[in-house]
Symmetry: C2
Subunit: 391 residues, 2 copies
């Protein structure tokens, strides 16, 4: 398992990695950036990366068959993609949502930016730990009010407590990521529906990020339960959806948001004209096709089941604590006295396993790393390594 | 030359096309959108599309050799691209510009949007005819003041007259596209330098869009003359650069802007984190490589020469007037009494040649179409058709 590196190399590569990490702000440097900047570093498993690898394979299968063999790829690269509204029309039909309520975007991060800049004014309640862009992208005149998900409650959001917190703060907006990042904590459909119904009258915007919802489920059919249809009744509900994770295509940059027609109009009337690239357009067209969706459903469930097995094995390992998750990753607390930084660097440099050091995450007290589920064989490598490292 | 269509089909397809055009606002529907929505329409030459086709071929050659054959494409699609600043570092070195002054963007349109939304406050002088996004993307509290490029002066900007206009208006910002779209009118380096030097003290932002500068030249070496280096001395000069046209990769969405460090910081400190996709990152890496640049320089010049020949042939055709251009397109006035709409539809439906009907362009009095130079053989088809149609 172990890569052959001596202590000097360990410290040298560790320093380089820490410098790279520090240059990436509150995010992790991508694997491509690491490969370029520290070519000596051999990454065997990128368990920092939150993405279904089987979905990538499925997309590549279509990409090869439909774009490469036919040479259609040249058109996709050469010509302007369709305008935003053309792709919203396609998506609307597929999702059963009025297309005028759909804002397609260059990765969910573009929708996060647009929503936080244009619609969030004043106080915004953000649950921590969280995906940092939600508080980093607020306007100067906005203020993030943090609602702490307690380690003692295994980071699970208590709907009653949350509702009374929001009632007390009276913010302009609230942000909920479901399942949450970095812990994977899941709010059940009925609970989230209740939160929306209780709070939509007292806040201007309810922002729900469902980027990891394809990995969550409430019964043994593993069906996904999105609250997207609630946007029909609740006009100030905004749903943000990345396609990078569930469809394994982060490099393509594809996402969408569902929000009130007027808000979409406000965004697209003076911007966001050609914000999808040709491959993102191809992906969205594929996404609406039954043949692709049926195959995708199979590998979505396969990945969920493998992830469940992976987590149950992780749970057996001593000296770490694995927090409950319904996403494709777990938050792990290190209990043997070593720091998250030490573990992250050792995993990366000595074992070639890249995980997310969560030391920079607001609201986390203790030593935490976030570990993504990958393919079954990669998960096995991770398990072997973790047993080696912690037991 | 002529496609076999009867009058019924002509009117039917014409109606469908006009509906599509109207749904695209002040822009033309892309060829891919047309192909999808009106499959009966056979487009032989897309002369609406402002792009060097030889550059597309060159990019595809690299794409095939470096990404497809090696299977590296899967990484490009699967993983997150590098953050904005990583690519700015690469570009800065190549352009000889401080990378902190570079804002890489998801097509130049993203920079146009960012600049018009964030930095332009109050009056902005925009020369018409123009690329409509410049006035469409202004804030509600901004006001576009149009400086008309006169047909009588063949749409050429007179530096003296322009400078005194701006001095009189005292705007917050000015926008100059060089060469201009849709006429291709070119302001010489020395004249533009003078405009910048005269006006930088009296306006907050001088926005110069050099998206077509690779097609312009001032001597028989066909060297391009960008004013990008002036940003070193003139801190309120903003250069916007699309890569879609000169590099023939509109589907990839790649562009950059050069502006004051503080402005870049203002944009990237709370947004634009992963706004380039994996292929755009690949393109920018390619763009900085000498082997690619040398080959590109050859085909850039080849395309300019062919465009010069094409335009000189167009100039001989009766009943149209071809306005002077240093871009890869020409603005053509129809002098035989037919309307631009009639000519556009006839060209598209009867001959399969897609041109830009300029009827919706502010500041154009008369019947105008914009015609792009394509490959030499496509240009020949266009010439045959134009002779057929106008003589």
């Amino acid at each position: 398992m172990e890569l052959i590196v001596n202590d000097n190399m360990l410290s040298e590569l560790g320093k380089k990695f820490m410098a790279l990490k520090s240059a990436s702000g509150t995010h992790s440097p991508s694997m491509l950036t690491i490969l370029e900047k520290i070519p000596d570093l051999k990454i065997k498993v990128d368990a920092c990366f939150l993405s279904n690898p089987y979905a990538t394979d499925l997309f590549l299968e279509y990409f090869n068959n439909e774009l490469l063999k036919s040479k259609k790829i040249s058109r996709v690269l050469e010509f302007y993609p369709s305008q935003n509204s053309v792709i919203a029309d396609l998506l609307g039909e597929h999702l059963g949502i009025n297309p005028k309520k759909i804002f397609v975007c260059n990765g969910a991060i573009e929708a996060i930016q647009a929503v936080m800049h244009q619609f969030v004014k004043g106080k915004v309640v953000i649950n921590i730990p969280t995906f940092s862009s939600y508080y980093e992208f607020i306007n100067k005149d906005s203020e993030a009010v943090f609602y702490t998900l307690e380690k003692e409650n295994t980071f699970i959001l208590d709907p009653e407590d949350y509702i009374s917190f929001v009632r007390k703060i009276k913010p302009n907006s609230i942000v909920i990521i479901n399942p949450n990042n970095p812990d994977g904590g899941y709010i059940k459909y009925q609970d989230l529906k209740r939160i929306v119904e209780e709070l939509h009258g007292i806040v201007e915007n309810i922002i729900v990020d469902e980027s990891f919802i394809h990995f969550a489920f409430e019964n043994s059919d593993l069906e996904l339960k999105s609250i997207i249809q609630l946007t029909d009744e609740v006009s100030n509900l905004i749903i943000i959806k990345s396609m990078s994770k569930d469809f394994g295509i982060a490099g393509i940059r594809a996402g969408y948001a569902v929000m009130d027609e007027e808000k979409v109009e406000q965004l697209t009337s003076n911007g966001y004209l050609w914000n999808l690239n040709g491959l993102a357009e191809y992906f969205f067209r594929l996404y609406t096709r039954p043949d692709f969706r049926n195959k995708y459903e199979e590998i979505r469930k396969k990945y969920i089941i493998e992830t469940l097995i992976f987590i149950s094995e992780l749970n057996k390992i001593r000296n770490i604590r694995v927090y409950p998750t319904k996403a494709n990753f777990v938050l792990i607390e290190i209990l043997d006295g070593r720091t998250a930084e030490e573990i992250t660097n050792t995993l990366l440099i000595k074992y070639g396993i890249y995980v997310r050091n969560c030391s920079d995450k607001k609201g986390l007290k203790g030593q935490f790393i976030r570990l993504a589920a990958r393919s079954a064989s990669e998960n096995d490598q991770v398990l072997l390594t973790f047993r080696d490292l912690f037991e």
